[in-house]
Amino acid sequence: MITERIDFKKNSVEALGDPKLKKALVNFTDRSRSSRKKAVSEVSEWEELRSEARGIKEEVIENLDSYLLELEKSVTRVGGKVHWAKDAEEASAIVVDIARKNNVRNVVKSKSMATEEIELNKHLISNGINTVETDLGEYIVQLCDDHPFHIITPAIHKTKEDISKLFSEKFGVPEYEEPQKLTNIARKELREKFLSADMGISGVNFAVAETGTIAIVENEGNARLATTFPDIHVAIMGIEKIVPRFEQLSIFLSLLARSATGQKSSTYVSLITGPRREGESDGPRQFHLVFVDNGRSDIAKSEETRESLYCIRCGACINICPVYRQVGGHSYGWVYSGPIGAIITPQLNDPEKTADLPFASSLCGACRDVCPVKIDFPHVLLSLRQKVVEKTKEKADLPGFMEKIAFQLWSFVFSRPFYYGFVGKTMVFLQYFYQKDNELRGLPYPFSKWTKEKNFPAFSRKPFRKRWKEKYHGKSGITK
């Protein structure tokens, strides 16, 4: 839960001042963008897959109540148990309760944004249950007592030197810098945790209503271990994760890996249908599935923003976002970052504390273009902005009033060629004291609000319209 107001601007300024982070972000976004592009270009029917997936999601969310009931029935039929949690606290309480009833001491977790959202680890640990993240990135983040930086690659803000130092401190090993050696150390440490765990917790990528199957997608194998080795498997899912029919998984699995990491397929996909069956020597003896609402059913009510629930958490929008590339994941102040964070965080939390986030976008629409389920991010962002503005209007504050006047003035000048030309010419003289390198800096109030953050391009002595006229002597200048 968000306790303090998220100050996106302040967080961004901090992030921008960190050169190491900047390098990591550029490197990471460049690589993930190009590998995604390549993987997508290999699929000739990509657009059909997107449309198909979008259509399925539209139908699912409109009928979510009946699909949840169908899924519950299916899970029960194959020997699992479903739990319903209306909010974060209840979801964590359910898991703690399952653990207590079964005398669980050690829990291994695979990566799940839903469990980050409900702060499950905190609850388990405060109830005396050892809980270890087993995804390498999440493990590193947990060892540093930090938060994930990205939904797919949580520790991308840590350098190998950071990690080497961390492992050396925690495990008393030399400061290896080769990533493969660091990985081997983590394997050894975590393997012991798996072998002594009595409960495994996972997220859910997709849940199939008709069969009660959950799909878990990963590269490391930690989710397979966490869902196979311990006697109890608890899977946590946001209620929007439903896919109606089993064969529809082929569409979503095709889209997910390529969008997320640019792989044709992730290394491991597990389709789990209930606990182990008679005669089987491994797999959990108990299977629990926790439905987490935590604000999602409220999102379903808004026609303008309902599509936020179509998200399959691939992270493509984050990787493509020019804002994320500059300010990184922690600036968004909660578990989801980038464009998906900008639309989900305000809808799942107190809108006043998250009012900055819908504005953390240039509305360029790159996120919409890469989204595998075609979420119209700019549309949702504008709708959320409108809500924020309506709230501030009630307060009738001075900055809001000034902004209104400024835009009215702007609209007046820009729609009248005479005034437009006149203002331009006047500015050439007025700007004299503030001009440097063809830019305006340190303007007086109220324009200082602009120049505090960025320079304003200087007004040209010879405006564009005049240059155009001179060059083409009144001709249109458009070559045919």
Binding site: H83, K86, E247, V269, L271, D282
Partner: protein
């Protein structure tokens, strides 16, 4: 508040979200995207090999005169393995080794593969009493024996096949595992490393 009350609350919230007469109707027809079944089997095998090798997997083709048992014995010796754990399969009955029951200490796990997907280089393993899940997961090396007839063109074709073999999905096994190469991560500065949790080597023998 108990789970029952929350259930009622969530369902009520959702059913009030959209007016009943405005809802899209639920479609019930099964739709399979193009399974490209016209592709011939030798092309499928080539594609599978290329894609599996692209993700650092290793492939051995069993020659016409080679015996599977001989090939596996040879591989085990090459890898210097002390203990091997394998599925109870007819083709593995005459191995020089006995199957290690403690999987956590086995050096190699040998399994079959129920299907494979050509265009992603993916093995598909179904769980069952004779097909434990951990054999392909705990040991540092996984060897899978794949019959070339079971390679399908793409994931859409695979789901169509699973529908045939599992009575229209009514009788799904407890776990279907898709395996595309060895375990990998890029969590440390995007450097690719293998074997982080699952096997660091994934070897397929095509028969």
């Amino acid at each position: 508040m108990n789970s029952k009350e929350s259930k009622a609350l969530i369902l009520q919230n959702l059913s009030s979200a959209i007016r009943e007469d405005k809802k899209m109707s639920r479609s019930t027809e099964r739709v399979f995207l193009d399974p490209q079944l016209s592709i011939d089997q030798s092309k499928l095998q080539d594609d599978f090999i290329a894609n599996f090798e692209m993700v650092s997997g290793e492939v051995h083709l069993l020659g016409e005169k080679e015996s599977l048992t001989g090939k596996i014995n040879e591989l085990i010796r090459e890898l210097g393995a002390q203990s091997v754990s394998f599925w109870n399969m007819n083709s593995l009955k005459s191995l020089e080794f006995t199957s290690e029951t403690d999987l956590a200490s086995a050096d190699i796990g040998i399994t079959g593969a129920d299907f494979a997907i050509a265009d992603t280089g993916t093995l598909v393993l179904l769980s069952g009493p004779e097909q434990p899940r951990l054999t392909s997961l705990l040991p540092p090396v996984h060897i899978a024996i794949l019959e070339k007839e079971t390679i399908v063109p793409n994931i859409h074709a695979l789901f169509a096949k699973l529908g045939e073999s599992h009575e229209n999905y009514d009788k799904l096994c407890s776990c279907i595992s898709f395996i595309t190469g060895p375990s990998r991560t890029a969590d440390i500065e995007l450097n690719l490393t293998l074997g982080v949790h699952g096997p660091g080597r994934a070897i397929v023998i095509i028969v």
